[in-house]
Every structure is written in structure tokens, then in C-alpha cells.
């Protein structure tokens, strides 16, 4: 093996410049990220949790919406690959002073980052930035639209727990209507062969889906007990408490009673079927503390795998040469 030769065998030509949504990804692309993430998990278990492929590169974290774990996860991922990290958050930046997204994009351009990771409350904002940016853009969550890295890390975690996802049935329960996590989970898990059962209040389900016009391999079962019967795993979504004020929920107590994950409900699934949650959890609302921290819970594993999946994407994108570097 020599470095001067082009490795012809199994060379992955990663053609994607941005990671904005996962709904147009091929299964091969998803698999490529998950396999690369496997190597990254190994790095995170070493005495020195750092490898050098992004040395000299700058990753800009542009977070225009509150987020702790996704931001910290991307920061750890970038640093584990030896990149420099600059963070721009909405509070304490000029975004608060009324700077427009276009102004921010111009600033990002001038800063000359090699990758922009962004979270924004407006669906589609990362597309706006990607069209105007020389650097690759990774969507770290935009409005109700997409959260691709969450979908990938959930897929990685489920595969590590269950093996091949072919014909495995995964329940996603909660506020599907407002959930970018649910959408990205569906777009990642279905191409890998999984079947999805959605559950939750009809008021928090997209209208067309409630009427039965569902994507392939996805069903809706409002009764959570029936949804969980014999399932291979469950992902509980965070209930955004402000939804109650919008009149979409009678009360948190009722929600918890009907759609909360309790130990007895979880026991309806197959033995050892895992419980997942994207965090932060409202314990006692969508998930009981005993389940959240119980033997089936993979919530902490999701956090670790999240760093690895983000490392994989940063690595794959840095292989994409910047426009000005092209001859």
C-alpha cells in the first residue's frame, strides 16, 4: 500500500457538496456515512481521541436557534478531527441586532470557513446559505423541515443494536407534525429497509398522514399500545410544551397518560427492543424517568454516536475541494 497511488479499490467518490436534507439520499450514501461513522466510534474509544484529517481547516458553527447538544456534538466532532472551530450563536451576535441572514452569509464568506454547520428556526434557511456559500453547508436542524445528522445517528444506533434494519418495525411517537427529527428519521430508516409506525395525537400529525396518505413503509396508529406491540424499537419525540398553548393538546398530563412511554408500555415491544429519544427529554411527559434511564434506553449511546456520525460527515465533506482551490 502506497500513498502516491490512487487507491482504485473501493474508492468512495463522495459527490455531495452539502448536507441539507436526507430525503434525496441513496441507500449507498447513507451506508457510506454509517460505515465511516463506525471507524470514528473506534477513534472516540482511543486514549488519544483525535485524528488529523481536518488539520488546518476551520469549521464554523452558525447556530441561530437554541441548541446545546447538537452544537457541542458538532464541536467535539470537529475537534476530534483536528479542525479549528468558531461558533456564532444568535444571542450575543449581531443576529440579535436585526442582521439579516444575507448579511450573516456575507460575514461567513468573509471569515473563510471550510465548512459551515448551521441551525436555524426557519425551514429552508440552510438552502439559502448553501446557494451563496463557497463552503459546504451541513444542516444541523432547520425549522420543522429536517435534521439529517439526527436521522443518521438514530440509524447508526439502531443498526448497532438490531443489526440489519430490513423489515424491522420502529415506532416514532409524539409531535410528528412539528418534528424535523421524525421526518429525517423516516428518510434515513426507510431506505435501510425499516418500517415505521407513527403514533401520537391526531392534532400533532400532518393532515395528509392522518388521512392515510402516508409515505411508503410508514403507517399511523394513534393507539400507542397497539403501535408498540411486537415493535423492534421506539423513538420518543420531545413534546414542545408551547404546543399546549396553541390548543393542540388538552394537557400535558393527558398527553403523558395516553402517549407517554412507561415501563409497562415499553414491555409490549420485543425483548430488548431499544428506547431512543433525541433529547432533551421531558421526563414524566413523553417518557418516564425509569424508561429514560432503564436497561433498554440508548439515549446516552445516541449522544456518543452523534459525535461519530458528525465526524464522518465532516470528513466526507472536506474531501470536496473548495471552488477557489480548483485549478
Amino acid at each position: 500500500m502506497t500513498l502516491t497511488k490512487t487507491p482504485a479499490a473501493a474508492a468512495l467518490r463522495w459527490a455531495r457538496r452539502h448536507v441539507l436534507d436526507i430525503d434525496d439520499w441513496s441507500r449507498a450514501e447513507i451506508e457510506a456515512v454509517l460505515e465511516t461513522a463506525g471507524a470514528m466510534v473506534e477513534i472516540l474509544g482511543r486514549p488519544v481521541r483525535k485524528a488529523p484529517p481536518l488539520r488546518g481547516k476551520t469549521v464554523i458553527l452558525f447556530f441561530a436557534e437554541a441548541s446545546t447538544r447538537t452544537r457541542v456534538s458538532f464541536e467535539l466532532a470537529a475537534k476530534a478531527l483536528s479542525a479549528d472551530v468558531t461558533t456564532i450563536t444568535s444571542s450575543g451576535s449581531s443576529v440579535e441586532k436585526g442582521e439579516t441572514l444575507l448579511d450573516t452569509v456575507r460575514t461567513l464568506q468573509a471569515l473563510g470557513g471550510d465548512v459551515v454547520v448551521m441551525r436555524h428556526a426557519s425551514s429552508g434557511a440552510p438552502y439559502f446559505v448553501a446557494e451563496r456559500s463557497d463552503a459546504p453547508v451541513i444542516n444541523a436542524g432547520d425549522g420543522w423541515h429536517a435534521h439529517p445528522t439526527q436521522g443518521l445517528l438514530d440509524a447508526y444506533t439502531l443498526r448497532a443494536a438490531l443489526g440489519d434494519l430490513h423489515e424491522k418495525r420502529i415506532v416514532i411517537v409524539g409531535d410528528v407534525l412539528h418534528s424535523r427529527v421524525a421526518r429525517s428519521d423516516i428518510h434515513t430508516l426507510v431506505p435501510l429497509g425499516a418500517r415505521i409506525t407513527l403514533s401520537g395525537p391526531p392534532t400533532l400529525m400532518p393532515l395528509a398522514w392522518r388521512r392515510g396518505e402516508l409515505p411508503p413503509c410508514v403507517t399511523y396508529e394513534p393507539d400507542l399500545d397497539r403501535a408498540l406491540d411486537g415493535a423492534h424499537g421506539v423513538i420518543a419525540l420531545r413534546l414542545q410544551k408551547e404546543r399546549q398553548e396553541g390548543g393542540l393538546l388538552p394537557s400535558l398530563r393527558e398527553y403523558s397518560h395516553v402517549w407517554g412511554l412507561t415501563a409497562s408500555r415499553v414491555a409490549r415491544m420485543r425483548p430488548d427492543a431499544p428506547v431512543m429519544h433525541p433529547g432533551p427529554m421531558n421526563e414524566g411527559v413523553e417518557i418516564d424517568a425509569a424508561v429514560a434511564h432503564g436497561a433498554r434506553s440508548l439515549v446516552e449511546t445516541q449522544v456518543t454516536n452523534g459525535v461519530a456520525v458528525r465526524m464522518a460527515l465532516l470528513y466526507l465533506l472536506v474531501g470536496t475541494p473548495l471552488q477557489e482551490e480548483r485549478p
Binding site: M1, T2, L3, T4, K5, T6, P7, A9, A10, A11, L12, R13, W14, A32, E35, T36, G38, A39, M40, E42, I43, R46, P47, V48, K50, A51, P52, P53, G56, L81, A312, Y315, L316, L317, V318, G319, T320, P321
Partner: protein
């Protein structure tokens, strides 16, 4: 365009070379309790397994075996314009105070070994790191040499040395494919 080929090592030659290197490793570091073998993917790890097996059959001791993927440590990642596939490394023992014999199939520019040295020290601080290769074809670009060599082969820089191993390629053979210095 014809490409003259020559067999550098037959299956028997490879078997003898591995057996000899195994003896040399043991002679060099008699304390087998501190010895570990680490192969560089994706053919060094195959040779590393064979060396471990040879040492076991000669000495009755099974030394720790690991594999390294050095992709993330390459010095040309930002030059090649795409991201090469990263495979998992597997080193489930501590390298601290071990004598680690790194194994690769071909020693050429030395850049792979440079990357492997960087990767290995991220796992700890070995007492010593040695290098075993099946073929040394010259043309070093870095100050690196092998401690154990199956065969030294004079080549031209443009030549191709192809190592085939049963576990990966279905047969054992090392061949030299001569190339024009400038291909059309």
C-alpha cells in the same frame, strides 16, 4: 500497450519469507511477553495475522494482534480531491511499553509508514516500534527503513508492485508490472 510482468515472489517464497521474518522477530526481541504485531490495512493486516500464527507455531506463544487503518493520517487528504474510504482500526490491547512490530506489504515512499507511526502513538507509548515488510522496493521520500524485509527489489518509480494474498485476492503472489515512466 504491453506491460511486462515478472513474478517477484511465488507462494512458496512468501511462505518462507513470513516464516523467516517470524524467526527474526523472535531473535531480535526474546521477551515475547512484550511483543505485539500490528498490520496496516488492507494487506499488512493479513501478513500480520500470518506472522502471529508463525510465531505461535514456532514458539507456542500467541502475541497480541491488531490492525491499523491509516486513511485519516494520510498527508495528501486535501490534495486528492475526494475522501477515501475509512475503515475501522482494531487495537484492543494497550501498546504501552510493548515492542510493536508494524507490518505492511510493500515499503515504497515511506509515507504510509509515517502515517502509521502517527496513528500508532495515538494508542499509547510503545517501548519500541519496528517495521516488517514483505517487499522493499526503494524510492523512499522520508527517512524510514524496515527492520525485517522479505525481499529487496530494485524498481523504477513508475513500476507497480502488486501483492496478492490468498485471504484477499485468492492467490499468493507478488508481481512487478513495469510501466513507461510517462504513460500516454
Amino acid at each position: 500497450m504491453s506491460q511486462p510482468r515478472a513474478v517477484l515472489l511465488s507462494a512458496d517464497d512468501i511462505r518462507r519469507a513470513v516464516s523467516r521474518i517470524a524467526h527474526e522477530i523472535v531473535e531480535r526481541d526474546r521477551d515475547l511477553s512484550a511483543l505485539a504485531i500490528v498490520g496496516i490495512r488492507s494487506r499488512g493486516d493479513v501478513l500480520a495475522t500470518r506472522l502471529r500464527d508463525a510465531i505461535r507455531s514456532h514458539e507456542g506463544v500467541s502475541v497480541p494482534l491488531g490492525s491499523l487503518d491509516i486513511t485519516l493520517y494520510r498527508d495528501d487528504l486535501t490534495r486528492i480531491g475526494y475522501a477515501p474510504v475509512v475503515h475501522e482500526s482494531a487495537l484492543d490491547f494497550s501498546v504501552d511499553d510493548k515492542v510493536v512490530v508494524m507490518v505492511d506489504d510493500v515499503l515504497f515512499t515511506g509515507r504510509t509508514i509515517r502515517a502509521a507511526l502517527d496513528a500508532l502513538v495515538d494508542y499509547g507509548r510503545p517501548r519500541a516500534i519496528r517495521l516488517a515488510v514483505l517487499v522493499d522496493r526503494g524510492h523512499r521520500e522520508l527517512p524510514i527503513r524496515a527492520d525485517f524485509v522479505g525481499k529487496n527489489v530494485p524498481t523504477r518509480p513508475a513500476d507497480d508492485v502488486r501483492v496478492h494474498l490468498v485471504e484477499v485476492d485468492g492467490r499468493d503472489e507478488v508481481e512487478l508490472v513495469a510501466r513507461e515512466a510517462v504513460s500516454a
